[in-house]
Subunit: 442 residues, 2 copies
Amino acid sequence: MLTTDRIKALDLTIGVVGLGYVGLPTALGFHDAGFRVHGLDVSERVISELQAGRNPGDDPTFDNAIPNDERWTVTTEPKIVIPECDVILVTVPTPVQENKRPDLRFIQAAGETIFDHIDRGKRPVVVLESTVYPGVTREIWSPLIESRGLSEGVDLDLAYCPERFVPGDPNHGVRQVPRVVGATDTDIVKALAELYSHLTEGTVTPVSSIEVAEAAKVVENVQRDLNIALVNELALIFPEIGLDVEEVLTAAATKWNFHRYTPGIGVGGHCIPVDPYYLIQKAHSAGAPVELITSAREVNATMPKQVATRIIRQTSDLGRSPSSLKILLLGWSYKPGIADARETPAESLANELVEQGCEIYVWDPHIQAEHRLDGPYIWVDQPETSKPDVVILCTAHEEILGLDWTALRKSSDLGFLYDGRRVLDVEILHDAGWITGAVGRP
Amino acid sequence: MLTTDRIKALDLTIGVVGLGYVGLPTALGFHDAGFRVHGLDVSERVISELQAGRNPGDDPTFDNAIPNDERWTVTTEPKIVIPECDVILVTVPTPVQENKRPDLRFIQAAGETIFDHIDRGKRPVVVLESTVYPGVTREIWSPLIESRGLSEGVDLDLAYCPERFVPGDPNHGVRQVPRVVGATDTDIVKALAELYSHLTEGTVTPVSSIEVAEAAKVVENVQRDLNIALVNELALIFPEIGLDVEEVLTAAATKWNFHRYTPGIGVGGHCIPVDPYYLIQKAHSAGAPVELITSAREVNATMPKQVATRIIRQTSDLGRSPSSLKILLLGWSYKPGIADARETPAESLANELVEQGCEIYVWDPHIQAEHRLDGPYIWVDQPETSKPDVVILCTAHEEILGLDWTALRKSSDLGFLYDGRRVLDVEILHDAGWITGAVGRP
């Protein structure tokens, strides 16, 4: 059983199920903190890379960080590691399906694997870290536990501790971010708070239940979605009355309690475009009103379409029909500096423009050839080679901000450049001969 | 004409039109800064109080602050003061009408008075400080100027500098808050930034137009309305799934970029429940989408009704029909520590409960007898005298937080207490014998 004495003595085996962008840094973090770590993943590729001491993911932080000692075991075989674990952290993906309903199959599968193999004599704690709506941990796992003849609070305990780290941000990695943890048992939640304090220098806050911790994580992302949706809605309003939304927001931000967000072509990633649907589904099934959260999601989800419409309108004013346009998207991943393209708004924007008859080229120096999405897009290795009529900045990668705009302009016939992230200096672009447009600018 | 030399020499007469909760502190602030100040108000009462050296308003800060020297003149007569002014600040109310459309009549009337009396030889600057939607300053005033044969940029200049101060908050008074200022003329905007720097220790940010400054102010309040609406929507969702919204928000607030707001019975005051309608109207007339902002406004506007429904449901569970209930509202002003009841949600809540057949009593130690709204409510001078079945905390005045809950409980038959602001300690109330409910609690 998990006790603070064993945690203090580092005498604990921690399992991590799912060694992706959350699980791997978490496993490495607990290993660095001195614990025995057992990593499990269904991917043969991930495990063979790790066993060879190589980083299986995209984040270069971990290139030389894979341990090779007796406190580190990685495998695809649950029976080798799960029975030895005192604590098992589950860091599997929680995407949404095409119909925007949560896809909980990875949590289900992880639960089955774990509950089939635990050593009930150890009374391990199984901690879900994946983002879910309130109630999921027990709705999905409790029936699996019962059907195996196990008892919560006797043979094992359940807990929830949402991951919060920011990929690519060294100030908000697993070793820095504050955590929230909820469990059924009050001793367990205290012990887990102690355990996570070995992982992170941030605060670890115990809450009164698993469901409160689940809800807290969803609310964080819902609030972010809402505030981004507001600046996006303002970016659609202000140009219609001749104002640049960015100048307005910068002025408003001189007020002490204003929250500054920047409008753009839409939001991406594994959290913000996904988590609100989790809460929306839960609210619907509880019969509670959820119009505001739904409305915010709708604004952000339709931004790529709104941007496409404006680009088509502006190029049409320049005498060009959509079907005559070669359009180069600069950047494909959902945020700067990383290769992650989950739910990227660039894809929705590309699809909108393809529907309008445009020919789409994509340049993203972060996305390796094998990860480039198949579709009606032509991936290029140099922006100039596409000879684009229209260039759209979708991701503010440093490589993109540092482009030679004069050279790129020479390769372009029409010379229309649209800043989808409000990061470019209009004067420099005009000097280089570009006609420009931008999200939220008249 | 306004020049930085004259500002630095304090050789300037500043008019303030409208000596209410914004105008009076502004006039006093510029007087304290060393300028000659001419105050104008249509209210005989306000002017005679001021002329007698007495504070005409509710804020005790100004009780002993009314000047009596040659740099201070107050009057109801525009012809006495307007011709002498170099700068004229307009601080009149901008409420919404019953149909939620902006009521701009005070701005119109102030403009007429001013443009009828200015000395065009002085080329004064007329600065609107009242909150409006983008475009209002010139839409309302430019025709008035033209019809009097005056020319902007020749006989006078227009500018906009939104007031931002927080009534009752010593850290965010007119001498502290950062300002934003926009004008048509670039020299004028620079000079005004210099002038306002004498008033406030906060930053003064010039922007490129009057309209940007107008938009910035509206956006500040729209964002606040939206974030409060989110926690209010969550306060309707979480109790339905057995969670206390306050515990969830407190947990979420351990994340570095979370914005903590507290749900309640609704929002009041002269800004947040009003300004979004200004932007909504402007967006509508420009054909721009404004669903999100509208949805947020709707959530906050319906909170009193949502709260009334929940109180009726909970007291019904206790076996009491609405028509049998004597309900005491604790607090009537829209926020703690002040006597201001504009757009207070307490009024909407009271009206909802009256419609349900309840008998409504109100106790608010800040609101003087002469300012108590007529209506189907009975104002009491001591909470106990109403012998209420139900008590609803509407405003977290200190006098209310410090009530003797045991004594109040003795006066109550049913003993149901609803915390509409999430400020009370449930355990203390239960010990005192109350059955409790609260916004966002299951």
